[in-house]
C-alpha cells in the first residue's frame, strides 16, 4: 500500500527519534522507519553519559551545552522517565604530560562558558572513592549528566507518536526514489512512502542510505566495547573518564599502529553507574567494519586499565560485555543539514560517541532547518557539503 508523508525519518535511534519528536512538535506529519527496533544500533549499545568536558572547545562543545539545557527538563516535556540525573563528572589525570594537555583543554572550555575545574588528587578523592594513589589529579565539571539512552529513544518516539508521528518498526528502507534531483519516495520492505523530504538518521548505516541517492559520505563504524557489572551500591560519582580517553578520541592515527594493546585498541576509561546500580566500564575505539563481536583482548585490556585507575572495581562482578558501533567521521563532527544535488535529502548522522549528548539539539536543529531554513547558531561547519570533495576524490580513486 502506498502512503504519503510530509517527512520520512530513517533510523530509530536517539537521533532519529529526537528529530521525529521535534518535527512533530512543530506540526509536521512525520513517518519514522526503523529496520529493527528502537535503539537497536549504537543507541542501545553505548554508555549513559552526557559529558560536556570531553568535547572539543568550539561548535562541538557549544552544541553539547545547548543539548544539556534541553535534557534538564526533558523528562517532564516527554512525560517519560529518561533517568536523567545531573551527576557531574571527572577526567582522571595520570601524569604530568596529561596534566599539561588537560590544563589547556580546560582553559579553552572555560572560555566558552563551561563550568570546569582542575582538582588535585586529594580533592578528586573526596568526590570519587577508590581512586588509585598514583593519579595526579582530575578535571571536574558539575554540568555532566546521565540518561538512559534506550529510555531517551522510547521517550522521544512515544512523545512523537502522541503528537501524530507514525513509528514503523521492523521496516527497512530498500530504496529512495528521486526525480529531477529531488526526493520523491522512500521504498521499504513494507511498501512505498511518497515524500519530498527524507532525513538520514541511520547512524553507522547512513552510508548505505546515502548510496541509494548516489552519494558518498565518510562515516565509518568505530567499534566500542563496554563491560557491565552487577548492580552495586553507589560507587561511581558520575561520569569518570581518563585523559587518555580524550587522546584516543581525537587522535585515531596514534592509536591504530601501536604494539601496546591498550593504545592499539584505543582504550580509555569511561565509567558510570546506572540508576539501577550497574557500573558501565568502557571502552575502546577500533575500526573493524561492522563487526559487533566482543573480544577477549579488549575485555582484559579495558578492565586492566580501569582497575589501574580505580582499583575498587576489582571486587565487583562483571555480568556482561557488549560492543557497539559509533558512527565516526574524520573531523569528529556530525553531518547535519541538506546536501548538494539532492533536494529534500537531509543528513543527521555521524555523531560518533556523542549521539546521546547531542540527541536533543540535533532534533531541534534539523526541525529548525526544515521549518525555518535556519537555526540558532552557525552550523556551517557541520554541513555535509564539507565532504563533497572527499566524495569526488573517492569516486576518482
Amino acid at each position: 500500500m502506498k502512503k504519503t508523508a510530509e517527512i520520512v525519518v530513517i533510523g530509530g535511534g536517539v537521533i532519529g527519534t529526537s528529530i521525529a519528536y521535534f518535527l512533530s512538535k512543530k506540526g509536521k506529519k512525520v513517518v519514522l522507519v526503523e529496520k529493527d527496533d528502537l535503539a537497536s544500533g549504537s543507541s542501545g549499545a553505548c554508555d549513559i553519559d552526557i559529558i560536556l568536558q570531553s568535547k572539543n572547545p568550539g561548535i562541538h562543545l557549544k552544541l553539547a551545552m545547548e543539548s544539556a539545557e534541553i535534557y534538564k527538563n526533558l523528562t517532564e516535556e516527554l512525560d517519560f522517565d529518561i533517568e536523567y540525573e545531573n551527576t557531574g563528572g571527572m577526567i582522571l589525570i595520570e601524569d604530568e604530560d596529561q596534566l599539561q594537555v588537560m590544563r589547556e583543554f580546560v582553559k579553552k572550555q572555560k572560555a566558552i562558558g563551561l563550568q570546569v575545574d582542575l582538582l588535585d588528587f586529594k580533592e578528586a578523592s573526596k568526590l570519587q572513592k577508590g581512586l588509585a594513589p598514583h593519579l595526579v589529579g582530575a578535571t571536574y565539571s558539575p554540568q555532566d549528566a546521565h540518561v538512559n539512552p534506550m529510555s531517551v529513544c522510547m521517550g522521544f518516539a512515544m512523545a512523537a507518536a502522541k503528537l501524530g508521528a507514525e513509528i514503523c518498526l521492523d521496516t527497512a528502507v530498500v530504496d529512495i526514489k528521486t526525480s529531477k534531483g529531488a526526493v520523491k519516495s522512500v521504498v521499504t520492505n513494507r511498501g512505498e512512502i511518497e515524500t519530498a523530504t527524507v532525513i538520514n538518521a541511520a547512524g553507522v548505516y547512513a552510508p548505505e542510505i546515502c548510496a541509494m541517492v548516489g552519494m558518498s559520505v565518510p562515516i565509518k563504524p568505530r567499534r566500542g566495547q563496554i563491560i557491565v557489572t552487577e548492580p552495586v551500591p553507589k560507587l561511581i560519582m558520575g561520569d569518570v573518564l581518563c585523559a587518555k580517553y580524550i587522546v584516543a578520541k581525537y587522535n585515531p592515527g596514534i592509536v591504530e599502529c601501536s604494539d601496546d594493546p591498550e593504545t592499539r585498541l584505543g582504550v580509555g576509561l569511561s565509567l558510570s553507574q546506572t540508576r539501577n546500580g550497574n557500573i558501565l566500564i568502557g571502552g575502546c575505539r577500533e575500526f573493524v567494519g561492522y563487526n559487533r563481536s566482543t573480544t577477549h583482548e579488549a575485555l582484559t585490556t579495558i578492565l586492566k586499565h580501569a582497575t589501574r585507575l580505580v582499583p575498587a572495581l576489582k571486587e565487583i562482578h562483571a555480568i556482561r560485555s557488549f560492543a557497539g558501533l559509533r558512527p565516526y567521521t574524520p573531523d569528529g563532527l556530525p553531518l547535519l543539514g541538506p546536501v548538494n544535488g539532492i533536494e529534500g535529502f537531509i543528513m543527521a548522522a555521524g555523531h560518533e560517541g556523542d549521539g546521546i549528548a547531542l540527541s536533543p539539539i540535533t532534533g531541534r536543529i534539523i526541525s529548525d532547518l526544515i521549518t525555518d531554513g535556519k537555526t540558532f547558531a552557525d552550523i556551517s561547519s557541520l554541513s555535509p557539503k564539507r565532504f563533497d570533495a572527499w566524495g569526488e576524490n573517492r569516486f576518482a580513486s
Partner: protein, 105 residues
C-alpha cells in the same frame, strides 16, 4: 534440617566442623558445603530482600544461575550462596537491596 539417615545414601558421616555467623547468630556448618545448605540446615529460608519492593528471597535454582540466593559474605554483596563453599568463621548477612560494602574489607 540435616538428613542424618538415608535409605540409599546411608548415614551421614560428615560432622559440623565450622561455625559461620549469620546476622550475628552463630550456626554450625560443614567446611566446603554451599553456604545455602548450611542456612537451610539451620532453618533459615530468607536470604535477602529485593531492592525495589523489599520482598524476601531464598534458594531457587541452586546452581548459581538465578542469583536469588545472594547475600553479603565477608563484606561483599551479591555472593551466590548456593555455589559458594563454607569456610570456618565466615560472616554472612542478609542482603537488603543491593547490600552495602563493608569498610573492613
Amino acid at each position: 534440617m540435616r538428613i542424618v539417615h538415608h535409605p540409599i545414601l546411608g548415614d551421614e558421616t560428615r560432622v559440623c566442623n565450622a561455625i559461620i555467623t549469620v546476622d550475628g547468630r552463630q550456626i554450625p556448618a560443614i567446611e566446603g558445603e554451599p553456604i545455602a545448605a548450611a542456612l537451610l540446615a539451620a532453618g533459615i529460608k530468607k536470604f535477602r530482600e529485593t531492592p525495589k519492593h523489599n520482598k524476601p528471597r531464598g534458594i531457587f535454582c541452586a546452581i548459581g544461575r538465578c542469583t536469588d540466593c545472594v547475600m553479603i559474605v565477608d563484606g561483599i554483596p551479591n555472593v551466590r550462596t548456593c555455589i559458594t563453599p563454607v569456610r570456618d568463621g565466615m560472616i554472612i548477612k542478609t542482603q537488603k537491596g543491593l547490600g552495602e560494602w563493608s569498610e573492613a574489607r
